[in-house]
Symmetry: D2
Subunit: 344 residues, 4 copies
């Protein structure tokens, strides 16, 4: 299949190139930007001699004619508009932005503080949390790829929320992300001298991923209530850890909880439930599509701690996008994604 | 006054040297170790030409005779034994280890998994959380300096715990620390290649600082219950952020909460309550003795988020030790501690 | 004495504040910018509660009236113009930019690719390499502060160039700098995600500090010829190491060379010549005004290797500026500069 | 083909696993250590659920019987002894240590300060600088894999040394390496708190890679003389940059020099000669087997600057080892090595 990538100059776009370049079933046909038509390696010197494609302007007619699938790695607010130019065409779409995730367009307006696209357009996209929405993804042609924080959070919470094991108002997510999550546009906040030896909290209870997480949680279990959600910036390029706290609604042992997680993810090749009393760290998934999970039940407080770790550019963006593209086309979901973590 | 430092080769000891070297009222008389008797700058080349003292063996008689105050920057398990050799002498003591903090020696045994010193010895030391125990410190000659995590956590929680504004079983502390907190003994866990671009969680609900925090919380408010406490390792040398969550027991606005914190710390020169809707990051206190606090009340969940930030080697160790030594001797508490943060 | 700082929002300006805030003989009277008139801590939250000054516009009349000395921490190209508004006033000036260093204005034009100020104006400023130009500094009212790379390079080379011990065309400087040297304006090049785990070479044989270094070298020894000069970016906030290579013009032992360096810097409190066979690393001077030097004579090749290390914001900028201001006013040169390195 | 890896717990061994795990023509049959027989993922949690092999003791009989090729990722001093237990067996060997590189065993003794193996054994191994020794590698069964610094340095110097374009005594190599090059044994020097925000020089003109480089240079051009060689530690996990200086023996333009390099590496898929006036940085090859080269001729000094960049664990160790194994077995040299750099 032939693929186009729109929004190639961001980190998500670069990661799509890294994966698709060696994917056995997709070929990169063209890469697009709204900026200058220079070779990709002008923007990304690491691609010198590897990828000779020139960045092209976005011509929906041409793209739809030449390609079978288009990946939008464009910013929130841009994707929504672009997608509309493709809706009348025969082409698969995977969007990595936040524009097509929230079915309640008021929520979009409230949290993103931008104009939403129509609910109808949103509803024509399937939410691509691969592990838990596989059947819908398999029969769709349009995927809205989950956000990075929601991916880590939802994969961590799914078992206990679906099995109704926690108090509905007790979820607290303390999330930490590497800086690539903030994109490739320079700002004071993402300068090296500002972030090295630093650690910041931002958007306390204000992050636009909150409604996305709550939407999925209530889809799984209608009793679920508002969550407390904090996001922090790590002095790393990649990686997300969500440390999640919830109060158990009945007594459960660590062994029982571990058994539940292991069981629920036994058919999910990209979710690794760690042995009891061990926990994943972010570097252990760098460059790979894994989501690693560790759990701890604290008898003293009756609370569950869940540690969920991903590479934000892989399982949190480009990796999951390809995983969804695989599922959508009936391929093995791991195709072209079997990168081992790069360690150290 | 003449000071001796025992345990000079660790990071806490080095930080004591940095402060005392320019302190107007204390002079470093001698530095001690159980290792080789080499010049300090053999261990710490940054002190070359600055400090010509040789490291000396620990001779309690000589130290007590020549010095007015001794700082123990020795590891937990070592301090307790050493301190006993000084109890019959006329010398002020400030201990930075965990050996003399827990009045309940069973707690010590349970959480530290070591033999405790006697309760009597522990009780002869005053807990040196400077901001909240100033009167006792001022009249004591023996200080047990708080742990780094407890300092950040307790300064963050004091106002709402003392004012009884939160549900007693609702406290969750998600703490993150730079690696110097793990000391200067090499191990795989603190290697650069293992920690760069990494972020780890460790000792989930098992950290030995839990009973220290709970002891102080119940001293302040006897209704307080067990806390949930997670510790993480940041890829930084210094810095602690405690992100603290608690459920309010009544409706409070952000403005009221901010007013409370500002009021309660108005006479504490080292606690900076940040303006509403802004939050401190760890680099903003690096090298200084500040504890910076930001707060957020979330109306959606009725939960309070407290962000408390310190330099673990300063306010979390050596800085607070000197602050206590100042108070103990009737000096202005900021004497010799007015380092501005080193930024960037 | 009352001081004004112009260009406060860059890292050099912030470092001037850090030093002057606790300097016993200078007081910060006002801080200036061309940007918004906000409190300094809006730009630098680490100064919250420490410095309440508002940033002010640049009013030369007012500044000259209220202050005794003005520090220009403004960018090259800006300083030169600003300085001209102060030349007819009674105020001491210390400029940290490259605008007033090159006596040959053609060199300025060639290497900086900007319009030079007049040679007359340049010549009214004294080059502030404190260790080697003290007498001129002491009798001047206008100092042009050396660049960061020139400071490290020239202090490393001075003994062998002045003593005429190396082949005149043999100097190679391989210099490495932390990222704060590139200023506080965000650009792709200084983003965290681009620089973490990275190391770059830039401006190979093109750096604008080359003529500054060569000017001083030929002042010391007219036989000196063009140097080879490479600059690299380290994934650190601070620090410069210049590794300098030169061919000896006669046989010299390591011991003789070490003796020479020790002798020539015996009266320079900020230059620490390290013991033979040991070498400084950049973190060993962080936050301090030291320049640390190590040397090695290689018998196999007859070449000398010099390792010269500074904190680029201190000895390479603000620290040396204050050192010069001290000398200019007859104060002890170390006044207000006795910061120990912050380690780790 | 079936492969055994000996010395699996170091970073080089882990990188061999990463490559061989997805190599189409080699299968990992067994992994060996002298430590405990635990699953590999006990040592490397990132391999959890990926590689279930247990670490095994080193049994040469069994290995030779079950495997076609053995990779020694063991330390210098260990490899030499181990290899001797395999010399009488029918098995291909690739050694990554320094034990089998120096034909002059006196050099080994002088620079490594250890007992050398016999010259005969050394001579039975072919030096595996893949790009320049392909014919010998193709007909050998025993490869001594080059050191990391020599790989970067020699690939950078080969064109001008072979073409006799530089003065024989003019080579200066200023090399910088990430910390993984120092191995996975904890020491104070490789602790995070010691290396973060740091940059060190070490083994000035003493590094054991000097004779290895000089041996190859004089093989290429017998006039070449001793080199000046400095090694530095970067605060990064991976990556080497060698900045190399040499004086041209005649006038050459940048264009001519660039043409020469491009021509000489036109058939080397892993060497990327960068466009004139651009230079590679280390992160642009991270995780890949590329060696990227940039060159600059300085007319002012008649000197050539060469910038050569590799990932020390890939082209500097495991990557080149597999490249050699490919060549030795008649496979395409890029087989299983087409990793794109991981960026950012």
């Amino acid at each position: 299949m032939k693929a186009a990538i729109i929004g190639t100059t961001g980190y998500g776009g670069a990661e799509l190139i890294r994966i698709l370049h060696s994917h056995p079933l997709f070929t990169i046909k063209s890469v697009h930007t709204t900026r200058d038509e220079v070779p990709v390696w002008n923007e990304y010197p690491h691609l010198f001699n590897i990828m000779e494609n020139k960045l092209e302007q976005i011509n929906p007619e041409k793209i739809a004619k030449e390609c079978d699938i288009v990946f939008f790695a464009t910013p929130t607010g841009v994707s929504g508009k672009l997608v509309q130019e493709f809706v009348d065409k025969e082409i698969q779409m995977v969007d990595l932005s936040g524009d097509l995730r929230l079915r309640n367009t008021d929520d979009y307006q409230k949290w993103y503080k931008k104009e939403p696209v129509s609910a109808e357009l949103v509803n024509s996209f399937v939410y691509g949390l691969s592990e838990w929405n596989k059947e819908n993804i398999a029969t769709s042609k349009r995927i809205s790829n989950p956000g990075c924080y929601p991916t880590a959070t939802l994969l961590g919470l799914a078992p206990v929320v679906k099995e109704n094991m926690i108090l509905p108002n007790s979820i607290i997510v303390d999330a930490k992300s590497g800086i690539s999550g903030a994109g490739r546009s320079p700002s004071r906040a993402n300068m090296f001298a500002e972030m090295s030896e630093n650690f910041k909290i931002y958007k306390v209870n204000q992050h636009q991923h909150i409604p996305e997480i709550e939407q999925q949680l209530t889809d799984w279990n209608s009793e679920m209530q508002a969550i407390t959600f904090s996001t922090h910036l790590l002095p790393t390029s990649r990686g997300i850890m969500a440390t999640i706290y919830a109060t158990l609604n009945k007594s459960v042992t660590n062994e029982q909880m571990h058994e539940l997680y292991t069981e629920m993810y036994k058919n999910s090749p990209f979710v690794r439930v760690r042995p009891l009393h061990t926990y994943p760290s972010i570097k252990e998934v760098t460059g790979s599509n894994y989501c690693d999970i560790g759990i701890n039940v604290d008898e003293r407080t009756g609370r569950l701690t869940i540690v969920s770790v991903i590479d934000n550019l892989m399982k949190g963006a480009a990796g999951q996008a390809i995983q969804n593209a695989n599922v959508m086309n009936g391929y093995e979901e791991t195709t072209g994604l079997q990168f081992l973590p790069l360690y150290p």
